[in-house]
């Protein structure tokens, strides 16, 4: 009997030692299921949206497909199935936490408060809040919004920032809390509001699709600093490392800059020096 217990204990210890080096977290989940699930958006042009054939596409999606390849290599898999799940601001965190998605490839701003629940890969793009206005509105700066009607999406970092400025500078802005970006744009385009506040890159994307792009302009100083990142689960350094290594590799090989030129340049113009510096800083050595 004693012998049996001793043997069991030995086996348990040995087993433990063997597993110490083994896969865990997201990588284990991906290996076990043969599937990686990516959270994405339906209409965040040019980062994460649906093309005319109904498939996911965009800057973030393409970046993530490089990460998927790296995961496949890391796990030595012959086949890795990629599934896409549409996420929204409110569903992102619960879906990462409950294991429905393994990473989110959209336009999520990397914030410290979000880091309480999730983790981020290195910055892939930098934007900030600006004002989307009609050219003839006479609005040039946030101070011109005094008493105006302004649309901002419910529960976004944009809302937080513009409402804080409104309170601080006593502008008395009359807010319309739109549900999502399509409705925010529609409220603006149909003249319900004088201004729509969201990320500058999103505003450029909206203008590029408008029926009369020449009527609209993105104006004012940058009201915020919004670094976009791919979101991953918290406390999962092994999986995160694969992502960090992929992005560093893409910057070093120049692939990242090609990706920028393909997706973002046509809408927002050449890469800003700030973004270039940030990306250079992420090109960690092997």
């Amino acid at each position: 009997m004693l012998k049996a217990i001793a043997l069991a204990a030995c086996l348990a210890l040995w087993g433990h030692a063997a597993f110490a080096d083994d896969l865990y977290g997201t990588l284990k989940k991906i290996k076990d299921s043969g599937t990686i699930t990516i959270g994405r958006s339906e209409n965040s042009v040019p980062f994460s949206y649906t093309d005319s054939a109904g498939n996911p596409t965009g800057y973030s999606i393409e970046l993530c497909s490089h990460i998927v390849d790296a995961v496949k290599q890391e796990l030595k898999l012959d086949k890795l199935q990629v599934r896409y799940v549409t996420i929204m601001g409110t569903t992102l965190i619960p879906l990462l936490v409950n294991g429905t998605i393994d990473m989110a490839c959209s336009t999520t701003t990397h914030t410290l408060s979000r880091q309480r629940q999730v983790d981020f890969l290195p910055t892939m793009y930098i934007t900030g809040n600006q004002l989307l206005v009609r050219k003839d509105s006479g609005i040039h700066e946030v101070e011109d919004l005094k008493g105006k009607r302004v649309a901002v999406n419910q529960g976004t970092t944009n809302e937080k920032i513009i409402k804080a400025i409104d309170a601080q500078e006593h502008l008395g802005i009359n807010f319309l809390d739109t549900e999502d970006q399509p409705r925010g744009w529609l409220a603006f385009e149909s003249g319900r509001v004088d201004c729509y506040v969201t990320d500058a890159i999103v505003e450029h994307g909206l203008i590029s699709k408008a029926a009369h792009p020449e009527q609209y302009a993105v104006v004012g100083r940058l009201l915020s600093f919004d670094p976009y990142s791919v979101v991953v689960r918290r406390d999962d350094s092994a999986f995160r490392l694969v992502g960090v290594r992929t992005i560093a590799g893409m910057i070093k090989s120049g692939e990242m800059f090609k990706l920028y030129d393909k997706w973002i340049d046509p809408i927002a113009g050449p890469m800003s020096p700030e973004l270039k510096y940030v990306l250079m800083g992420e090109a960690y050595p092997d």
């Binding site: 601001g89 936490v97 309480r116 009607r149 419910q154 319309l176 809390d177 409220a187």
Partner: protein, 240 residues
């Protein structure tokens, strides 16, 4: 699978106040929309049972139009499309002149939508009353209007009370769709707070508990009323 719980966000300023304000808007939308739904619904129910073919046809057309388009779509049409098809002055007033335009749009949309469902219940109630009652009323010298007001409608309401409770609760719950046109009611507020605090699961629990509490209160109250107003002689549940 790791989640950091933090229930203290509930009592933190300004979130507690936001939840209360969300609940207030939800209740206001539901009550205001119910006024429209109940009065217009009763009229519709009556209109569908009168002799005049024209009146019946108009009521039927209204019912078919409003009940066959999803509420989510109707909300969108009222808010984003109606101002564009109206004369410019009226459209501009809806867009820029009317105070709390989102609230009133949600109320009208929900009220007109639910009126159809109330109307169908009222009609079913009236039709379930034995024809003899109406004839007896007419024979005893009441006008048709009096027959409806004093005999058919009161009896119909008693029969359809459980169904009316359901409709009221559904208006209360459907009011969450007002967030799609920019009213920060209860669901919208909890979504907003979850994004501000990064505690979405606490917020969903809170919203669920508040909706549950309000509707259970209404349901319990109506149970008692139903018990008192039920007609004797029908099959009834022992437990209710």
């Amino acid at each position: 699978m790791h989640y950091n719980w933090n229930w203290s966000v509930l009592t933190t300023a300004p979130y507690f106040g936001w939840i209360l304000s969300g609940l207030m808007w939800t209740v206001l939308i539901a009550l205001a929309a119910w006024v429209i739904a109940f009065s217009l619904g009763s009229a519709l129910g009556v209109a569908r049972t009168v002799r005049s073919r024209v009146v019946r046809a108009v009521a039927a057309a209204y019912v078919e139009l409003f009940r066959n388009i999803p509420l989510l779509v109707q909300m969108f049409l009222w808010y984003f499309v109606l101002p564009e098809v109206l004369p410019k002055a009226a459209g501009d007033w809806l867009k820029r002149g009317l105070p709390h335009a989102e609230f009133w749009t949600a109320v009208v949309c929900l009220g007109l939508y639910t009126a159809v469902r109330v109307g169908e219940q009222v009609r079913a109630g009236i039709q379930s009353i034995a024809a003899g009652q109406a004839s007896a009323g007419l024979a005893s010298g009441l006008t048709p209007v009096q027959v409806y007001l004093h005999i058919l409608l009161p009896n119909a309401y008693r029969i359809i009370l459980p169904a009316l409770t359901t409709e009221f609760l559904s208006i209360f719950k459907n009011s969450s769709l007002a967030l799609t046109i920019g009213v920060l009611e209860l669901t919208g507020r909890t979504r907003q707070i979850s994004e501000y605090t990064m505690q979405p699961i606490e917020m969903f629990l809170t919203a669920t508990a508040l909706y549950g509490a309000v509707t259970l209160l209404v349901a319990l109250a109506m149970w008692r009323v139903e018990g008192r107003t039920r007609f004797p002689g029908m099959l009834t549940s022992e437990a209710s």
